[in-house]
Amino acid sequence: MADLATLQRQFYDRVTAGEPTDGLIASGDLEIYAVMYASRLRDALAEDYPKLRAALGDARFAALADDYLRAHPPRSFTLRDAGQRLADHLRAGAAVPAWPPWAADLAALERARVEVFDGPDAEPLAHAGVVALGDQLPELVLAWIPSSVVVALAWAVDDLWSAIEDGQPSAAPACEARVVRVWRRDVSVLHRTLDADEAELARDLAIGTRFAGACERLGRLHGDGASARAAELLLRWLEEEVLAAPADHTVG
């Protein structure tokens, strides 16, 4: 009689990869498990990548899901992470003509939305907190809230995402580099394409930077107009509730 490890290996290989078994079961049908294994994982990917599924169509998405799951069988206890590497998988197979070249970017954008949906909670920086700083404003540390992800795109898939979301006809996205920030405000997941100067600042804010430092960077980009632009961006970010409220707004 096979030991438990051997038996479980036979079962696993049959259900996940269709390998034959010999004398494993006394009754029933292992194919039931094989069908459920594949369908549950496909469903999980479809749930996490609804726009990619819509853009590719059900049949191509199912083929992509099967291809991905063969290469990256889930390793996490949670289905939430089953599709974690889909964008990487698509990038690694970019030369394969089956998947359009923008698919990896769309997957990256959708994955970022999954990440921030149930990412860490954080109190956003409020207008009042900034006003209270007075002449200490230059020392204010600007940092994105933890449930915020900046995604660099080579294709304008944010336009494709919006078209599908709005039920509009969706053309293939333009080959156009963009930087998109995805974040959570209260319980809503949002994303927005960043302006070019915002995109440069986004890297600094990922690790935290003083307002004075942000102004310096904007100065190199805008010259005399930097102060007005800095104020404009600060107000925009406060409105979006995307800046983390530090315990102490100044750096000691």
């Binding site: 009689m1 096979a2 030991d3 438990l4 490890a5 038996l7 479980q8 290996r9 079962f11 696993y12 259900v15 996940t16 004398g23 494993l24 079961i25 006394a26 009754s27 029933g28 049908d29 292992l30 039931i32 498990y33 459920m36 294994y37 549950r40 994982l41 999980a44 069988p73 889930p74 390793r75 996490s76 206890f77 949670t78 289905l79 939430r80 089953a82 921030v116 949906f117 149930d118 990412g119 860490p120 909670d121 933890p146 449930s147 959570r184 319980v187």
Partner: protein, 285 residues
């Protein structure tokens, strides 16, 4: 002797009902949540859980412990579960008598075990490890299944009862699963109930299934069927007013409809609307 809290009649907390639960006064004594759905850092799932916990007891029901796998217990998972247990203070923590991972790969399904002495020893050791880490007893649920193994030597009911005795854990008795397995494998549902040690049955699950002609599938997408209600009546006659709940995971109806279905469980059990959870909890010692 094991003693488990009597919580009354509960439902599985599911996303489509969040608003009705938070804003209403549903006639539900307690809620059961799928642990893995809340092992996340923050956002709406954790917010809803906190708010529900302010008003009701919340039991944690896991699907990823993989207690029967030859893989070791996933320490990362167990650590996260322990943190959630500390936060929620659930009256019941449960998972399934099954395996769902091998070689570090997760199946995201509840795969059946061959019922052998080797499997029994392995499950006992892993349950003890989990209970030591969590500092409390867990309950193991009898799984639904669609195959039996040539290697099995022990009837499932005896296997589950022996695991509970050896590992000093509880049993979450899924009455629908007993029915599904009885149909699928030709088992005797009444004999299954009779083999359960009453003092270790800490919770009962009710659910619906779908009939695929050649087999029943435990889909949780239908109301509880008449035959399962009958079996539930036999179970409460044997085990008393054990904490009971209805699971619904697909084709989820309105909360009112599920509460109405839960009322039928109350009537069958003949218990009061709310049972004081005054008995000692399921912790060790």
């Amino acid at each position: 002797m094991a003693v488990f809290p009597r919580l009354g009649f509960g439902l599985g907390l599911r996303t489509p009902h969040y608003q009705d639960v938070l804003e209403g006064e549903p006639r539900v004594d307690w809620w059961e949540v799928i642990s893995e759905n809340f092992l996340v850092a923050g956002g709406n799932p954790r917010r809803v859980l906190r708010r529900v916990r302010e008003r009701w007891p919340v039991a944690l029901h896991g699907v990823s412990l993989s207690i029967g796998s030859v893989d070791p217990v996933d320490d990362d998972y167990l650590g996260r579960l322990a943190a959630l247990v500390a936060e929620v203070e659930p009256p019941i923590v449960s998972d399934h008598l099954c395996w769902s991972a091998l070689g570090g790969h997760a199946a995201h399904d509840l795969w059946p075990l061959p019922y052998t002495e080797e499997a029994l020893a392995l499950v006992e050791a892993k349950v003890r490890r989990v209970q030591d880490r969590l500092g409390r007893r867990i309950l193991l649920e009898n799984p639904s299944s669609y195959v039996t193994f040539a290697a099995s030597q022990i009837p499932e009911a005896e296997f589950l009862a022996e695991v509970a005795r050896r590992a000093d854990c509880g049993i979450l008795l899924d009455v629908n699963n007993i029915y599904v397995n009885a149909k699928n494998h030709g088992w005797d549902a009444a004999a299954y109930l009779a083999a359960m040690p009453a003092e270790r049955v800490g919770q009962i699950h009710l659910a619906g299934h779908s009939d695929h002609g050649t087999h029943l599938l435990d889909t949780h997408d239908h109301p509880v069927c008449e035959a399962v209600w009958t079996l539930y009546g036999e179970a409460v006659a044997r085990f008393g007013d054990v904490t009971s709940m209805i699971e619904r995971d697909e084709a989820i109806p309105s909360l009112d409809e599920l509460v109405g279905e839960l009322d039928r469980a109350r009537r069958i059990a003949g218990g009061p609307a709310r049972h004081a959870a005054a008995q000692p909890d399921a912790a060790h010692g």
